[in-house]
């Protein structure tokens, strides 16, 4: 599902059928395959070293729940990266959305689904506002989202301390606890159709993945988003309302961030201001490791899932191996830098090969 804007998939497919186009890189350059193999291999390695790693209820379930949440965070970043922008305020937008969900449950006693809708709406609005400021003024998205991050950080904590007594909404609508701990085995007929390791919350992630994948590969709107990211001027000249696409990308990002905030709140059970504090790093890690370019125009929706999984597996595995919390970040940073430089080396080598062979 990696979709560079320059090569529409069906065209590339037809060409490949007749004669392999020379500029096509060999399959082992594909970043996603490498990621998948690496993730599975690492999971197997950790499983052999520490059989506890494969414990479905105690290890895999929370691990998959974390992956589900962080994948949505990475998708929120991916949505803005597709137009060549950045969203430094993902974490705060998540907190902002969760605030409204919590408020709805606490004050209006909304049912679970309605609260989620309110949360998504709030996220989309704040994202849209950010996008509007960027599109209208032409100021760099980095600066605007940075300022947004500051402003929301203050605003959310102010609202929490104004609206609640101990800075958290603890009212839980019916169904929230189920959503938190239910796995596929609970809603299906036991072991017949689902493993107890897959959390029910993964449904949101699958929905987001499918939705974004459809948007970027199949719809005109998605193509226009990518074109806006690849070359804003060319997009503008070909009649794409780039301003509106920028706003769309940012409100999509806000919506996904709010969804991630809701999921994080459900996993912890309370709606508090600290939700999303640590979202910024994973959002870039997942998206960039997955093959989405920071410069815009190329996204890889499945890559976001794979990149996030790799990071989460490494984190959990090292944790189980007894590597202290303090060293975990050191290894993660090294993995990020190594993975990206390896990717770079691979791309250069394969490019040379292709050039030589033609």
């Amino acid at each position: 599902m990696r979709t560079p804007v320059t090569a529409p998939e069906h065209v590339a497919g037809e060409a490949a059928g007749a004669q392999r186009p020379p500029r096509r890189l060999p399959f082992w350059v594909d970043q996603r395959l490498g990621l998948l193999v690496l993730t599975v291999a690492l999971a197997a390695l950790f499983g052999v070293l520490r059989p506890a790693f494969l414990d479905q209820r105690l290890v895999l379930f929370p691990l998959l729940r974390e992956i589900s949440t962080l994948t949505v965070v990475a998708l929120a970043q991916l949505a803005v990266l597709s137009v060549g922008h950045m969203n430094l305020a993902v974490g705060r937008m998540a907190a902002f959305g969760a605030l409204f969900a919590g408020l709805g449950y606490d004050r209006l006693h909304l049912p679970l689904q309605l609260g989620l809708l309110v949360c998504l709406f709030a996220g989309a609005v704040i994202g849209g506002l950010t996008g509007w400021i960027i599109a209208r003024t032409g100021v760099s998205s980095f600066v605007v989202t940075l300022a947004m991050d500051f402003a929301l950080m203050g605003l959310v904590s102010l609202l929490y301390s104004a609206l609640t007594e101990n800075a958290a909404f603890t009212t839980r609508p019916s169904g929230l606890l189920d959503l938190r701990s239910a796995s596929l085995a609970d809603i299906c007929v036991g072991r017949v159709c689902g493993s107890p390791a897959v959390p029910q919350m993964a449904q949101f992630t699958v929905l987001a993945l499918v939705g974004l994948g459809f948007l970027y590969t199949r719809t005109r709107m998605g193509r226009e988003l990518l074109l806006t990211g690849a070359n804003p001027k060319a997009a503008e000249l070909s009649g794409i309302p780039t301003g509106r696409r920028v706003i769309l990308a940012h409100s999509l990002s806000g919506l996904l961030a709010a969804l991630a905030g809701f999921m994080a709140a459900v996993s912890t059970g309370t709606f508090r201001a600290s939700i999303g504090d640590d979202f910024m790093l994973p959002s870039f890690l997942g998206a960039v490791l997955g093959g989405t370019l920071l410069t815009g125009g190329v996204v890889c929706v499945v890559g976001a899932l794979l990149g996030t999984s790799l990071v989460a597996v490494i984190r959990k595995g090292l944790d189980l191996l007894g590597v202290g919390l303090e060293s975990l970040n050191i290894y993660l940073g090294c993995v990020l830098l190594l993975a990206l430089s390896a990717d770079r080396v691979r791309a250069v080598v394969s490019y040379r090969k292709v050039v030589r062979s033609t």
Partner: protein, 358 residues
């Protein structure tokens, strides 16, 4: 605010007027705010101890703002500012408290380490051609881990009393650390505005292609900028270690956003090629004023972030509006708009095309 285009050109007079106006605005805001605060506190704010505390905690924000500014002037971002500062501060604290290293050697070692980390970051960016944003993100993660490993959960405070004495020393109620920060700012200004190496740095940031064609190695400038940024962060860590009662793993945690806010409010563009040493210092002053006002009226600390966010947003949007206004007026009178530089390129800005679609 200085850009390379202005150098020696006839437009320099017009540009200087413009740059003066930006700085003057900030100066007026600073003085006005200070006076207002003084009056609101019925004069207490002008007295020795208050001035002293005010300036004491101004040193670090000024220095980290300058560190970020140096990275911005070649079009790079340095996300590792906070982590590097915290890590260096902890390194110095641990060396002195646990290693029994004399203070001067520990300080020198800390500053050198910070500089070295900057150098390595720069070399890595140039060698692998990975986006500087991602590389510094990785370095930030590694340094956060290193800092946690060094300090653990304790607070290191058993270090050299002489250094603490020096940090608290304030001849004529002007703290020594603040004077250090001012001296560093002065040296940096001389380097950037007068030295050949500084001009090269700006040239490489303003227009990499033109710089390369005129025989300036942009790669070397990027390495230099990151090294210099690391050095400034090292000095900031020294001032923090000297003026704080002790160092722990939360030092530097809240440096990243202010480090961006100061140069941006001060009028530095994200696209590179422009610097504003005085503007950055003034912007740090303004942010400190907001903090002081918060303390004066005993408001929730969240107000500070909220207000700083609004100020940053207001500055960039206002600057952009001003620029379009000038352009329109220039067109109406049938002459070229006043200055090629200033806020305009600032806003068009970019990380590789992070600008807004218009």
């Amino acid at each position: 605010m200085i850009t390379i285009n202005e150098y020696g050109a006839r437009t320099s007079a017009a540009l200087r007027r413009f740059s003066r106006s930006t700085t003057t605005t900030l100066l007026c805001v600073t003085l006005g705010g200070y006076l207002a605060l003084g009056i609101a506190s019925s004069g207490e704010f002008f007295q020795g101890p208050s001035v002293r505390t005010f300036l004491q905690y101004l040193a670090t924000p000024v220095l980290i703002g300058l560190a970020q500014m140096v990275a911005l002037c070649v079009g790079q971002l340095n996300l590792a500012v906070g982590a590097l500062g915290g890590c260096t501060a902890c390194l110095m604290g641990v060396l002195m408290a646990d290693g029994g290293v004399p203070a001067p050697i520990a300080v020198a070692a800390g500053v050198l380490t910070a500089m070295l980390v900057g150098l390595v970051t720069g070399v890595f960016i140039v060698a692998t051609r990975i986006n500087g944003f991602i590389v510094t993100l990785g370095v930030m993660t590694i340094l956060l881990g290193a800092q946690y490993r060094l300090a653990g959960t304790r607070t290191v405070d058993g270090y050299s009393p002489a250094l603490k004495e020096l940090g608290r020393a304030a001849p004529l109620n002007v703290p020594l650390v603040f004077l250090t920060a001012l001296a560093v700012a002065g040296l940096l200004a001389v380097f950037l505005y007068r030295a050949t190496a500084g001009r090269r740095l700006l040239a490489a940031g303003g227009n990499p292609l033109a710089a390369r064609l005129s025989g300036i190695s942009t790669d070397r400038q990027i390495v230099l900028a990151h090294t210099l940024s690391g050095l400034l962060v090292g000095v900031a860590a020294v001032t923090a270690t000297a003026s704080l009662p002790g160092v722990n793993r939360s030092v530097g945690g809240d440096w990243l956003l202010p480090s961006f806010a100061a140069p941006i409010i001060g009028g530095v563009g994200l696209s590179g090629g422009s610097v504003a040493v005085f503007g950055t210092v003034l912007a740090a002053f303004v942010m400190r004023l907001i903090d002081a006002a918060r303390a004066q009226f005993s408001l929730d600390p969240s107000w500070v972030n909220f207000l700083i966010g609004l100020v940053v947003l207001g500055t960039v949007v206002g600057g952009r509006v001003h620029q379009t206004h000038l352009e329109k007026r220039g067109k109406a009178h049938g002459r070229t708009p006043p200055a090629p530089a200033g806020r305009g390129p600032t806003a068009d800005a970019t990380l590789p095309n992070a600008g807004g679609g218009q």
